[in-house]
Symmetry: C2
Amino acid sequence: MDKKIDRRALRTRRALSQALLSLIVEKGYDAVSVQDIIDRADIGRSTFYAHYTGKEDLLRSGFAALREELRQAKLAHRASPERAGEPLSFSLAMFEHGARYVDQYRAAANGRGGAIMEAEIRRALSELVREELRGLDEAAVSREFVVQFVVSAFLTAFDWWFARKPKLAPAEVDAMFRRLVLGGIGPLAAKPR
Amino acid sequence: MDKKIDRRALRTRRALSQALLSLIVEKGYDAVSVQDIIDRADIGRSTFYAHYTGKEDLLRSGFAALREELRQAKLAHRASPERAGEPLSFSLAMFEHGARYVDQYRAAANGRGGAIMEAEIRRALSELVREELRGLDEAAVSREFVVQFVVSAFLTAFDWWFARKPKLAPAEVDAMFRRLVLGGIGPLAAKPR
DNA sequence: ATGATAATGAACGCGATGTTCGACATCTTC
DNA sequence: GAAGATGTCGAACATCGCGTTCATTATCAT
C-alpha cells in the first residue's frame, strides 16, 4: 500500500524528466540549465527544488528506467534458444538497443558533458556483466577487474561505432567486440613476419 | 629567435599551473574556482584572463608536460634489452609511472570532475598505443578500434588498481592487464565444468 | 633612459543557483 | 461535500562564479 504517490507529483516528475532528456539531446547536458528544464516542463522553480536537489539529481533518477530496460532486454535474449551457454550473451542485444537510441547515446557519449551519464550507464552495464560473469575463475584475475574490463570494452566499441563507423550493422560491431574481448589482441599482433 | 617569452609571463603561467595542480589534488577539479587559483598563485584576476580563457584552458596547457614525460618514459623503456619485440612494451613503465604520481592520477580518475582530464590522458595514451600498434593486421578489426580498446583497458586497470587494490605492485597489475588485453576473457570463462 | 609589455585590483554586468513565502489548486478521507 | 493535507505557483531575494574593463603601476628589453 505504499502507492501513495500523488498524481500531481507524478505529472511533475514525468514532465521534468522528459524535458531534461529532450534538452540533453538538443544541447548536451552541460548546456542545460535548471531554468531551461522548468521552462520546457512548464513547472515552477520552487516545485522543481521540492522534488530534486538539482539537475544532477533529476538526471540520475532517470536512469532507473534505463536499468530496467536493460534488464528486460537481457532476459528476453536469454530466453532465445541460440547462444544458450555462450558468455557475454547480452552484447548483441545491447548494440541493437543502442542503434535504436542513437541520439540519447550520442549525447551521453559526448565526453565533455556527461561524466555523470557515463558513470550511470557504466553502473547499469556493470550489474549486467557482473551477473553474467558469476561463474568465473577468480584465481587468475580479480572478478571485478574483469567486469570493468568488459564494460569498458563495450563502451569503447559503442563510442567508436558511433563516432567512426555509424554505417556498420549492430551484428558487425558485435563481432569485433566479441573477438577482442574474448580473444584479446594476441591473435592480431601475431603477424610480425 | 622566437624566445621572446617575457620572464614575467613565464612566472605567471608557471604559478598558475602549479596552483591549479595543487588545488586539484586537494579538492578535485570541479570544486576549484578561478578565484581559488589566482588566490593561491597570487596573481591578479585580469592577468589570469590575459593568459587563459578559463580554467579549462589552463588545465589543458598543463598536459603538454605529461605527454612529453610519457614519450620519454617510453623511449627509455624501448632502449632496455629485454622485451625487445614484445607488444605493448609501454605498459609496465606506465604503471610504474602511475605509482609515482598517485595523487594526481587519483584526482584525475575521480569521475565526476575530470572529464577533461580523462580525455586528455586518453589522448596522450592513444598516441603511444597507436604508434606501438603500427604493424597491426588491419583486416579483422579496425586499427583505431584496437587502439581505443587497449587504452580503455589500460585506464580501467589503472582505476581498478587505485580504487580496489592499491597494495598491488605495478608488475602485478601489469601482468593482469597484459593477460586480459593479449588473451582476452576466453581462457578464463572456459572453465564451465 | 625610454618605450613597450605585463601585472594589478577594484568595479561592473551577467547568468545560474537554491531558498523563501503567501496564495491557490488538487488530492484524500471521513 | 467539507476539511485538512499535500502539491504547485511565481515572484523576489541573496549568493556565487564568470569574464571584462580600465586607469595605474611595475618590470622588461635595448
